[in-house]
Symmetry: none
Subunit: 226 residues, 2 copies
Amino acid sequence: MNEQLTRRMAGEIVVSDSPGETLRKWREIFQLSQKHLASLLGVNPSVVCDFEKGRRRSPGIATVRRLVETMVSYDRAHGSRVVTTMAGQQGNPAITSIQEFTIGLKIANVVKAIGGEVLAGAEELERPIYGYTIVDALRAITTFSGANFGQMYGWSNERALLFTGVQFGRSPMIAVRAHPVKPRLVCYIQPGNVDELAAKLAKMERIVLVRTDLSLGQVQVGLGKL
Amino acid sequence: MNEQLTRRMAGEIVVSDSPGETLRKWREIFQLSQKHLASLLGVNPSVVCDFEKGRRRSPGIATVRRLVETMVSYDRAHGSRVVTTMAGQQGNPAITSIQEFTIGLKIANVVKAIGGEVLAGAEELERPIYGYTIVDALRAITTFSGANFGQMYGWSNERALLFTGVQFGRSPMIAVRAHPVKPRLVCYIQPGNVDELAAKLAKMERIVLVRTDLSLGQVQVGLGKL
DNA sequence: ATCACACTTCGGCAATCGCCAAAATAGCCA
DNA sequence: TGGCTATTTTGGCGATTGCCGAAGTGTGAT
Protein backbone atom coordinates (compact mmCIF):
# COMPACT_ATOMS: atom_id res chain seq x y z
CA MET A 1 0.00 0.00 0.00
CA ASN A 2 2.90 2.24 0.81
CA GLU A 3 4.40 2.01 -2.60
CA GLN A 4 1.04 2.29 -4.29
CA LEU A 5 0.38 5.58 -2.57
CA THR A 6 3.86 6.92 -3.30
CA ARG A 7 3.47 5.83 -6.91
CA ARG A 8 0.14 7.59 -7.19
CA MET A 9 1.41 10.76 -5.61
CA ALA A 10 4.54 10.80 -7.75
CA GLY A 11 2.49 10.16 -10.87
CA GLU A 12 0.15 13.03 -10.10
CA ILE A 13 3.04 15.41 -9.48
CA VAL A 14 4.82 14.49 -12.70
CA VAL A 15 1.84 14.86 -15.01
CA SER A 16 0.47 17.97 -13.30
CA ASP A 17 0.54 21.31 -15.12
CA SER A 18 1.57 22.77 -11.77
CA PRO A 19 3.75 20.17 -10.06
CA GLY A 20 4.48 22.56 -7.22
CA GLU A 21 0.82 23.06 -6.46
CA THR A 22 0.21 19.32 -6.59
CA LEU A 23 3.09 18.81 -4.20
CA ARG A 24 1.54 21.38 -1.87
CA LYS A 25 -1.82 19.63 -2.10
CA TRP A 26 -0.25 16.41 -0.91
CA ARG A 27 1.73 18.13 1.83
CA GLU A 28 -1.50 19.65 3.09
CA ILE A 29 -3.27 16.27 2.95
CA PHE A 30 -0.53 14.93 5.20
CA GLN A 31 -1.05 17.97 7.44
CA LEU A 32 2.61 18.88 7.43
CA SER A 33 3.92 22.42 7.39
CA GLN A 34 6.70 23.39 5.00
CA LYS A 35 8.96 23.85 7.97
CA HIS A 36 8.10 20.41 9.32
CA LEU A 37 8.53 18.67 5.99
CA ALA A 38 11.84 20.48 5.47
CA SER A 39 12.96 19.30 8.88
CA LEU A 40 12.06 15.69 8.01
CA LEU A 41 14.07 16.08 4.80
CA GLY A 42 17.02 17.74 6.50
CA VAL A 43 16.86 20.89 4.39
CA ASN A 44 15.91 24.53 4.84
CA PRO A 45 12.22 25.44 4.58
CA SER A 46 12.98 27.64 1.60
CA VAL A 47 13.90 24.50 -0.32
CA VAL A 48 10.39 23.12 0.06
CA CYS A 49 8.94 26.52 -0.75
CA ASP A 50 11.08 26.78 -3.89
CA PHE A 51 9.60 23.53 -5.19
CA GLU A 52 6.03 24.40 -4.32
CA LYS A 53 6.20 27.87 -5.80
CA GLY A 54 7.67 26.54 -9.02
CA ARG A 55 11.07 28.20 -8.76
CA ARG A 56 12.47 24.86 -9.92
CA ARG A 57 10.40 23.99 -12.99
CA SER A 58 11.60 20.47 -13.42
CA PRO A 59 12.89 18.97 -10.19
CA GLY A 60 14.64 15.64 -10.53
CA ILE A 61 12.71 12.44 -9.96
CA ALA A 62 15.00 11.60 -7.06
CA THR A 63 13.84 14.78 -5.37
CA VAL A 64 10.16 14.06 -6.02
CA ARG A 65 10.54 10.53 -4.78
CA ARG A 66 12.28 11.73 -1.65
CA LEU A 67 9.55 14.27 -0.92
CA VAL A 68 6.78 11.77 -1.45
CA GLU A 69 8.43 8.95 0.49
CA THR A 70 9.20 11.27 3.37
CA MET A 71 5.54 12.24 3.70
CA VAL A 72 4.34 8.66 3.50
CA SER A 73 6.94 7.42 5.99
CA TYR A 74 5.98 10.17 8.42
CA ASP A 75 2.32 9.21 8.12
CA ARG A 76 3.09 5.57 8.71
CA ALA A 77 5.00 6.45 11.84
CA HIS A 78 2.11 8.57 13.09
CA GLY A 79 -0.99 6.46 12.84
CA SER A 80 -1.09 5.82 9.12
CA ARG A 81 -3.95 8.26 8.81
CA VAL A 82 -3.47 9.12 5.17
CA VAL A 83 -2.18 5.71 4.16
CA THR A 84 -5.23 4.04 5.69
CA THR A 85 -7.60 6.55 4.19
CA MET A 86 -6.14 6.09 0.75
CA ALA A 87 -6.43 2.32 0.95
CA GLY A 88 -10.13 2.42 0.21
CA GLN A 89 -9.63 4.50 -2.86
CA GLN A 90 -7.17 2.22 -4.53
CA GLY A 91 -7.41 2.59 -8.22
CA ASN A 92 -9.95 5.38 -7.92
CA PRO A 93 -8.40 8.61 -9.05
CA ALA A 94 -11.68 10.47 -8.69
CA ILE A 95 -11.45 10.42 -4.91
CA THR A 96 -9.16 13.20 -3.81
CA SER A 97 -9.57 12.64 -0.10
CA ILE A 98 -11.73 10.57 2.20
CA GLN A 99 -11.86 10.97 5.92
CA GLU A 100 -13.89 9.91 8.94
CA PHE A 101 -14.40 12.18 11.92
CA THR A 102 -13.64 10.78 15.36
CA ILE A 103 -17.05 12.03 16.55
CA GLY A 104 -20.19 13.19 14.78
CA LEU A 105 -20.08 16.87 13.84
CA LYS A 106 -23.07 19.08 13.15
CA ILE A 107 -23.54 19.87 9.50
CA ALA A 108 -23.78 23.53 10.45
CA ASN A 109 -20.28 23.46 11.91
CA VAL A 110 -18.86 21.70 8.90
CA VAL A 111 -20.51 24.18 6.55
CA LYS A 112 -19.01 27.02 8.54
CA ALA A 113 -15.56 25.42 8.47
CA ILE A 114 -15.59 25.31 4.68
CA GLY A 115 -17.07 28.74 4.15
CA GLY A 116 -20.21 27.27 2.71
CA GLU A 117 -23.37 28.98 1.48
CA VAL A 118 -26.47 26.85 1.98
CA LEU A 119 -28.51 26.41 -1.22
CA ALA A 120 -30.98 23.80 0.07
CA GLY A 121 -31.80 21.79 3.15
CA ALA A 122 -31.37 24.51 5.78
CA GLU A 123 -33.66 22.61 8.16
CA GLU A 124 -31.21 19.70 8.33
CA LEU A 125 -28.24 21.65 9.60
CA GLU A 126 -28.33 20.28 13.13
CA ARG A 127 -27.90 16.69 11.98
CA PRO A 128 -24.51 15.10 12.63
CA ILE A 129 -22.15 13.73 9.98
CA TYR A 130 -19.25 11.37 10.49
CA GLY A 131 -16.90 11.95 7.63
CA TYR A 132 -16.34 13.49 4.24
CA THR A 133 -15.17 12.55 0.75
CA ILE A 134 -13.72 14.98 -1.74
CA VAL A 135 -14.44 13.92 -5.30
CA ASP A 136 -13.19 15.21 -8.63
CA ALA A 137 -16.49 15.39 -10.48
CA LEU A 138 -14.99 15.23 -13.94
CA ARG A 139 -13.00 12.12 -13.16
CA ALA A 140 -15.95 10.62 -11.36
CA ILE A 141 -18.00 10.90 -14.52
CA THR A 142 -15.58 8.72 -16.44
CA THR A 143 -14.54 6.27 -13.74
CA PHE A 144 -17.52 5.70 -11.46
CA SER A 145 -20.15 3.10 -12.01
CA GLY A 146 -22.93 1.77 -9.83
CA ALA A 147 -20.54 -0.89 -8.61
CA ASN A 148 -17.95 1.43 -7.13
CA PHE A 149 -20.00 4.52 -6.33
CA GLY A 150 -20.20 3.27 -2.77
CA GLN A 151 -16.45 3.78 -2.41
CA MET A 152 -17.21 7.40 -1.73
CA TYR A 153 -18.91 6.54 1.51
CA GLY A 154 -16.17 5.18 3.76
CA TRP A 155 -17.73 3.58 6.81
CA SER A 156 -20.64 5.99 7.08
CA ASN A 157 -23.02 7.47 4.57
CA GLU A 158 -23.88 10.11 7.16
CA ARG A 159 -21.23 12.18 5.56
CA ALA A 160 -20.37 15.05 3.31
CA LEU A 161 -19.53 14.67 -0.37
CA LEU A 162 -17.55 17.58 -1.72
CA PHE A 163 -17.17 17.94 -5.47
CA THR A 164 -14.58 19.84 -7.42
CA GLY A 165 -14.89 20.55 -11.12
CA VAL A 166 -18.62 21.22 -10.98
CA GLN A 167 -20.31 23.69 -13.28
CA PHE A 168 -24.11 23.77 -12.75
CA GLY A 169 -24.41 21.07 -10.19
CA ARG A 170 -26.92 18.77 -11.83
CA SER A 171 -24.79 15.78 -12.78
CA PRO A 172 -23.34 15.11 -9.34
CA MET A 173 -26.78 15.45 -7.78
CA ILE A 174 -28.36 13.16 -10.35
CA ALA A 175 -25.64 10.60 -9.71
CA VAL A 176 -26.10 10.93 -5.96
CA ARG A 177 -29.84 10.38 -6.31
CA ALA A 178 -29.35 7.34 -8.47
CA HIS A 179 -27.51 5.56 -5.71
CA PRO A 180 -29.55 3.89 -2.97
CA VAL A 181 -27.40 5.41 -0.21
CA LYS A 182 -27.45 9.20 0.17
CA PRO A 183 -24.99 11.54 1.79
CA ARG A 184 -26.25 14.17 4.24
CA LEU A 185 -24.32 17.04 2.76
CA VAL A 186 -23.22 17.80 -0.77
CA CYS A 187 -20.86 20.68 -1.31
CA TYR A 188 -19.65 22.14 -4.62
CA ILE A 189 -16.19 23.66 -4.37
CA GLN A 190 -15.83 26.82 -6.48
CA PRO A 191 -18.63 25.82 -8.85
CA GLY A 192 -20.05 27.80 -11.73
CA ASN A 193 -23.65 28.98 -11.45
CA VAL A 194 -25.41 26.18 -9.64
CA ASP A 195 -28.84 25.88 -11.16
CA GLU A 196 -32.17 25.48 -9.38
CA LEU A 197 -32.65 21.88 -10.44
CA ALA A 198 -29.72 20.79 -8.32
CA ALA A 199 -31.22 22.53 -5.30
CA LYS A 200 -34.65 20.99 -5.99
CA LEU A 201 -33.19 17.51 -6.24
CA ALA A 202 -31.30 18.02 -3.01
CA LYS A 203 -34.45 19.18 -1.24
CA MET A 204 -36.34 16.11 -2.40
CA GLU A 205 -33.70 13.89 -0.83
CA ARG A 206 -33.35 15.92 2.36
CA ILE A 207 -29.70 16.57 1.45
CA VAL A 208 -28.07 19.81 2.50
CA LEU A 209 -26.66 21.42 -0.64
CA VAL A 210 -23.92 23.95 -0.21
CA ARG A 211 -21.47 25.87 -2.39
CA THR A 212 -18.18 27.41 -1.34
CA ASP A 213 -15.89 29.89 -3.04
CA LEU A 214 -12.91 28.69 -1.08
CA SER A 215 -10.29 26.72 -3.00
CA LEU A 216 -9.80 22.99 -2.55
CA GLY A 217 -6.75 23.63 -0.39
CA GLN A 218 -8.61 26.07 1.81
CA VAL A 219 -11.50 23.66 2.15
CA GLN A 220 -9.09 20.94 3.19
CA VAL A 221 -7.55 23.24 5.75
CA GLY A 222 -11.00 24.10 7.10
CA LEU A 223 -11.97 20.43 7.32
CA GLY A 224 -8.67 19.68 8.98
CA LYS A 225 -9.53 22.05 11.79
CA LEU A 226 -12.72 20.23 12.73
CA MET B 1 -7.84 7.24 -19.74
CA ASN B 2 -4.85 8.83 -21.37
CA GLU B 3 -3.92 10.73 -18.32
CA GLN B 4 -4.48 7.73 -16.08
CA LEU B 5 -1.97 5.72 -18.06
CA THR B 6 0.60 8.51 -18.20
CA ARG B 7 0.17 9.10 -14.47
CA ARG B 8 0.65 5.44 -13.75
CA MET B 9 3.70 5.14 -15.96
CA ALA B 10 5.25 8.28 -14.51
CA GLY B 11 4.59 7.10 -10.98
CA GLU B 12 6.23 3.77 -11.66
CA ILE B 13 9.30 5.41 -13.13
CA VAL B 14 9.72 7.84 -10.24
CA VAL B 15 9.48 5.26 -7.45
CA SER B 16 11.52 2.61 -9.25
CA ASP B 17 14.97 1.67 -7.94
CA SER B 18 16.03 1.60 -11.58
CA PRO B 19 14.07 4.35 -13.32
CA GLY B 20 15.97 3.77 -16.55
CA GLU B 21 15.01 0.11 -16.66
CA THR B 22 11.41 0.98 -15.93
CA LEU B 23 11.44 3.49 -18.74
CA ARG B 24 12.83 0.79 -21.04
CA LYS B 25 10.09 -1.58 -19.91
CA TRP B 26 7.42 0.88 -20.97
CA ARG B 27 9.16 1.68 -24.26
CA GLU B 28 9.19 -2.03 -25.03
CA ILE B 29 5.52 -2.35 -24.08
CA PHE B 30 4.77 0.33 -26.64
CA GLN B 31 6.97 -1.59 -29.09
CA LEU B 32 9.11 1.41 -29.94
CA SER B 33 12.84 1.28 -30.61
CA GLN B 34 15.13 3.80 -28.97
CA LYS B 35 15.76 5.28 -32.36
CA HIS B 36 12.06 5.64 -33.06
CA LEU B 37 11.26 7.15 -29.66
CA ALA B 38 14.16 9.57 -30.05
CA SER B 39 12.81 10.58 -33.42
CA LEU B 40 9.37 11.23 -31.94
CA LEU B 41 11.03 13.36 -29.25
CA GLY B 42 13.25 15.23 -31.72
CA VAL B 43 16.48 14.19 -30.02
CA ASN B 44 19.44 11.89 -30.79
CA PRO B 45 19.05 8.19 -29.92
CA SER B 46 21.91 8.43 -27.44
CA VAL B 47 19.72 10.73 -25.35
CA VAL B 48 17.16 7.98 -24.85
CA CYS B 49 19.90 5.44 -24.25
CA ASP B 50 21.55 7.71 -21.67
CA PHE B 51 18.30 7.81 -19.68
CA GLU B 52 17.65 4.09 -19.91
CA LYS B 53 21.18 3.14 -18.97
CA GLY B 54 21.09 5.39 -15.93
CA ARG B 55 23.76 7.85 -17.05
CA ARG B 56 21.40 10.55 -15.77
CA ARG B 57 20.44 9.38 -12.29
CA SER B 58 17.69 11.87 -11.63
CA PRO B 59 16.15 13.21 -14.82
CA GLY B 60 13.77 16.08 -14.38
CA ILE B 61 10.05 15.46 -14.18
CA ALA B 62 9.52 17.48 -17.34
CA THR B 63 11.70 14.98 -19.16
CA VAL B 64 9.88 11.97 -17.71
CA ARG B 65 6.54 13.50 -18.54
CA ARG B 66 7.62 14.24 -22.09
CA LEU B 67 8.87 10.67 -22.58
CA VAL B 68 5.70 9.14 -21.19
CA GLU B 69 3.31 11.45 -23.04
CA THR B 70 5.16 10.89 -26.29
CA MET B 71 4.71 7.13 -26.00
CA VAL B 72 1.05 7.39 -25.11
CA SER B 73 0.37 9.90 -27.89
CA TYR B 74 2.08 7.63 -30.38
CA ASP B 75 -0.02 4.69 -29.23
CA ARG B 76 -3.21 6.71 -29.56
CA ALA B 77 -2.28 7.67 -33.09
CA HIS B 78 -1.56 4.05 -33.98
CA GLY B 79 -4.51 2.00 -32.90
CA SER B 80 -4.48 2.68 -29.16
CA ARG B 81 -3.24 -0.83 -28.51
CA VAL B 82 -1.73 -0.16 -25.10
CA VAL B 83 -4.27 2.46 -24.09
CA THR B 84 -7.11 0.10 -25.01
CA THR B 85 -5.52 -2.79 -23.16
CA MET B 86 -5.53 -0.78 -19.98
CA ALA B 87 -9.11 0.36 -20.48
CA GLY B 88 -10.36 -3.17 -21.03
CA GLN B 89 -9.09 -4.42 -17.70
CA GLN B 90 -11.34 -2.18 -15.71
CA GLY B 91 -14.72 -3.55 -14.88
CA ASN B 92 -13.80 -7.19 -15.50
CA PRO B 93 -15.12 -9.01 -12.46
CA ALA B 94 -12.97 -12.09 -12.98
CA ILE B 95 -9.76 -10.12 -12.67
CA THR B 96 -8.96 -9.64 -9.02
CA SER B 97 -5.73 -7.81 -9.55
CA ILE B 98 -3.41 -7.03 -12.42
CA GLN B 99 0.01 -5.52 -12.05
CA GLU B 100 3.15 -4.94 -14.02
CA PHE B 101 6.59 -5.16 -12.42
CA THR B 102 8.92 -2.21 -12.77
CA ILE B 103 11.61 -4.58 -14.06
CA GLY B 104 11.63 -8.21 -15.17
CA LEU B 105 11.74 -10.69 -12.32
CA LYS B 106 12.89 -14.31 -12.46
CA ILE B 107 10.08 -16.82 -12.26
CA ALA B 108 12.04 -18.61 -9.50
CA ASN B 109 11.92 -15.50 -7.31
CA VAL B 110 8.23 -14.97 -7.91
CA VAL B 111 7.47 -18.61 -7.07
CA LYS B 112 9.42 -18.24 -3.86
CA ALA B 113 7.56 -15.07 -2.92
CA ILE B 114 4.21 -16.82 -3.19
CA GLY B 115 5.25 -19.99 -1.43
CA GLY B 116 4.82 -21.99 -4.62
CA GLU B 117 5.45 -25.65 -5.29
CA VAL B 118 6.53 -26.34 -8.87
CA LEU B 119 4.40 -28.99 -10.60
CA ALA B 120 5.78 -28.57 -14.10
CA GLY B 121 8.26 -26.54 -16.06
CA ALA B 122 11.16 -26.51 -13.59
CA GLU B 123 13.58 -25.87 -16.45
CA GLU B 124 11.99 -22.51 -17.19
CA LEU B 125 12.49 -20.97 -13.76
CA GLU B 126 15.23 -18.58 -14.80
CA ARG B 127 13.09 -16.77 -17.34
CA PRO B 128 11.92 -13.27 -16.51
CA ILE B 129 8.33 -12.18 -16.18
CA TYR B 130 7.03 -8.66 -16.25
CA GLY B 131 3.73 -8.77 -14.39
CA TYR B 132 0.96 -10.86 -12.94
CA THR B 133 -2.81 -11.21 -13.09
CA ILE B 134 -4.91 -12.76 -10.36
CA VAL B 135 -8.05 -14.34 -11.77
CA ASP B 136 -11.14 -15.79 -10.13
CA ALA B 137 -11.42 -19.02 -12.10
CA LEU B 138 -15.12 -19.49 -11.42
CA ARG B 139 -15.99 -16.02 -12.64
CA ALA B 140 -13.65 -16.42 -15.57
CA ILE B 141 -15.57 -19.50 -16.67
CA THR B 142 -18.80 -17.55 -16.92
CA THR B 143 -17.53 -14.21 -18.14
CA PHE B 144 -14.53 -14.84 -20.34
CA SER B 145 -14.63 -15.47 -24.02
CA GLY B 146 -11.96 -15.59 -26.63
CA ALA B 147 -12.56 -11.91 -27.22
CA ASN B 148 -11.64 -10.72 -23.77
CA PHE B 149 -9.29 -13.45 -22.59
CA GLY B 150 -6.39 -11.28 -23.65
CA GLN B 151 -7.37 -8.77 -20.98
CA MET B 152 -5.57 -10.94 -18.50
CA TYR B 153 -2.29 -10.17 -20.17
CA GLY B 154 -1.84 -6.49 -19.62
CA TRP B 155 1.01 -5.22 -21.74
CA SER B 156 3.08 -8.33 -21.58
CA ASN B 157 2.26 -12.01 -21.85
CA GLU B 158 5.57 -12.71 -20.19
CA ARG B 159 3.68 -12.81 -16.96
CA ALA B 160 2.11 -14.94 -14.27
CA LEU B 161 -1.55 -15.90 -14.16
CA LEU B 162 -2.73 -16.82 -10.69
CA PHE B 163 -6.06 -18.54 -10.31
CA THR B 164 -8.29 -18.78 -7.28
CA GLY B 165 -11.24 -21.16 -7.07
CA VAL B 166 -9.49 -24.01 -8.84
CA GLN B 167 -10.22 -27.60 -8.04
CA PHE B 168 -8.28 -30.01 -10.28
CA GLY B 169 -6.64 -27.49 -12.48
CA ARG B 170 -7.73 -28.71 -15.88
CA SER B 171 -10.16 -26.00 -16.93
CA PRO B 172 -7.86 -23.03 -16.47
CA MET B 173 -5.05 -24.83 -18.26
CA ILE B 174 -7.35 -25.84 -21.12
CA ALA B 175 -8.53 -22.26 -21.41
CA VAL B 176 -4.96 -21.00 -21.34
CA ARG B 177 -3.96 -23.42 -24.07
CA ALA B 178 -6.88 -22.42 -26.23
CA HIS B 179 -5.64 -18.85 -26.41
CA PRO B 180 -2.89 -18.06 -28.91
CA VAL B 181 -0.90 -16.12 -26.34
CA LYS B 182 0.52 -18.04 -23.36
CA PRO B 183 1.62 -16.87 -19.95
CA ARG B 184 4.99 -17.99 -18.57
CA LEU B 185 3.72 -19.00 -15.18
CA VAL B 186 0.39 -20.36 -14.01
CA CYS B 187 -0.25 -20.64 -10.31
CA TYR B 188 -3.24 -22.20 -8.54
CA ILE B 189 -3.99 -20.58 -5.20
CA GLN B 190 -5.14 -23.14 -2.59
CA PRO B 191 -6.39 -25.61 -5.19
CA GLY B 192 -7.83 -29.05 -4.64
CA ASN B 193 -5.87 -32.02 -5.92
CA VAL B 194 -4.34 -30.80 -9.14
CA ASP B 195 -4.42 -33.67 -11.54
CA GLU B 196 -1.68 -34.86 -13.85
CA LEU B 197 -3.38 -33.67 -16.99
CA ALA B 198 -2.92 -30.06 -15.94
CA ALA B 199 0.80 -30.64 -15.42
CA LYS B 200 1.10 -32.42 -18.76
CA LEU B 201 -0.66 -29.60 -20.58
CA ALA B 202 1.62 -27.07 -18.91
CA LYS B 203 4.68 -29.02 -19.90
CA MET B 204 3.54 -29.14 -23.51
CA GLU B 205 3.32 -25.36 -23.57
CA ARG B 206 6.56 -24.75 -21.66
CA ILE B 207 4.52 -23.02 -18.93
CA VAL B 208 5.70 -23.22 -15.35
CA LEU B 209 2.82 -24.68 -13.31
CA VAL B 210 2.81 -24.03 -9.60
CA ARG B 211 0.45 -24.50 -6.67
CA THR B 212 0.51 -22.63 -3.41
CA ASP B 213 -1.21 -23.30 -0.12
CA LEU B 214 -1.00 -19.68 0.87
CA SER B 215 -4.25 -17.73 0.85
CA LEU B 216 -5.02 -15.07 -1.71
CA GLY B 217 -4.18 -12.38 0.83
CA GLN B 218 -0.84 -13.95 1.67
CA VAL B 219 -0.04 -14.30 -2.01
CA GLN B 220 -0.81 -10.63 -2.54
CA VAL B 221 1.48 -9.70 0.34
CA GLY B 222 4.22 -11.84 -1.15
CA LEU B 223 3.78 -10.27 -4.56
CA GLY B 224 3.74 -6.84 -2.98
CA LYS B 225 7.20 -7.42 -1.57
CA LEU B 226 8.74 -8.11 -4.97
C1' DA C 1 33.76 -11.78 -43.85
C1' DT C 2 30.89 -7.91 -44.65
C1' DC C 3 27.07 -4.87 -44.16
C1' DA C 4 23.20 -2.56 -42.01
C1' DC C 5 21.07 -1.34 -38.06
C1' DA C 6 20.11 -0.45 -33.20
C1' DC C 7 22.21 0.38 -29.03
C1' DT C 8 25.91 2.17 -26.08
C1' DT C 9 29.73 5.01 -24.48
C1' DC C 10 31.81 9.20 -23.93
C1' DG C 11 33.53 14.13 -23.92
C1' DG C 12 31.90 18.64 -24.03
C1' DC C 13 29.05 22.59 -22.72
C1' DA C 14 25.11 25.77 -21.66
C1' DA C 15 21.33 25.59 -18.70
C1' DT C 16 19.22 24.21 -14.64
C1' DC C 17 18.90 22.00 -10.17
C1' DG C 18 19.56 21.44 -5.00
C1' DC C 19 20.50 23.73 -1.34
C1' DC C 20 22.22 27.37 1.95
C1' DA C 21 21.23 31.38 4.34
C1' DA C 22 19.80 36.05 4.91
C1' DA C 23 16.10 39.06 4.64
C1' DA C 24 11.34 40.27 3.66
C1' DT C 25 6.37 39.38 3.99
C1' DA C 26 2.01 37.77 5.88
C1' DG C 27 -0.98 36.21 9.37
C1' DC C 28 -2.25 35.42 14.09
C1' DC C 29 -2.70 36.61 18.84
C1' DA C 30 -2.14 38.83 23.30
C1' DT D 1 1.70 47.35 18.65
C1' DG D 2 4.97 43.82 19.26
C1' DG D 3 6.20 39.10 19.22
C1' DC D 4 6.08 34.82 17.09
C1' DT D 5 5.67 31.57 13.39
C1' DA D 6 5.29 30.08 8.71
C1' DT D 7 6.06 31.20 4.13
C1' DT D 8 8.36 33.53 0.44
C1' DT D 9 11.99 35.87 -2.07
C1' DT D 10 16.54 36.32 -3.44
C1' DG D 11 21.49 35.76 -4.57
C1' DG D 12 25.04 32.58 -4.76
C1' DC D 13 27.48 28.34 -6.00
C1' DG D 14 28.86 23.49 -6.72
C1' DA D 15 26.71 19.60 -8.89
C1' DT D 16 24.02 17.64 -12.32
C1' DT D 17 21.11 17.49 -16.37
C1' DG D 18 19.81 17.64 -21.45
C1' DC D 19 21.53 17.25 -25.47
C1' DC D 20 24.87 17.01 -29.46
C1' DG D 21 27.67 14.24 -32.09
C1' DA D 22 31.48 11.11 -32.85
C1' DA D 23 32.96 6.62 -32.25
C1' DG D 24 32.54 1.92 -30.50
C1' DT D 25 29.84 -2.53 -29.77
C1' DG D 26 26.61 -6.26 -30.61
C1' DT D 27 23.44 -8.73 -33.52
C1' DG D 28 21.32 -10.62 -37.51
C1' DA D 29 21.28 -11.23 -42.41
C1' DT D 30 23.75 -12.21 -46.51
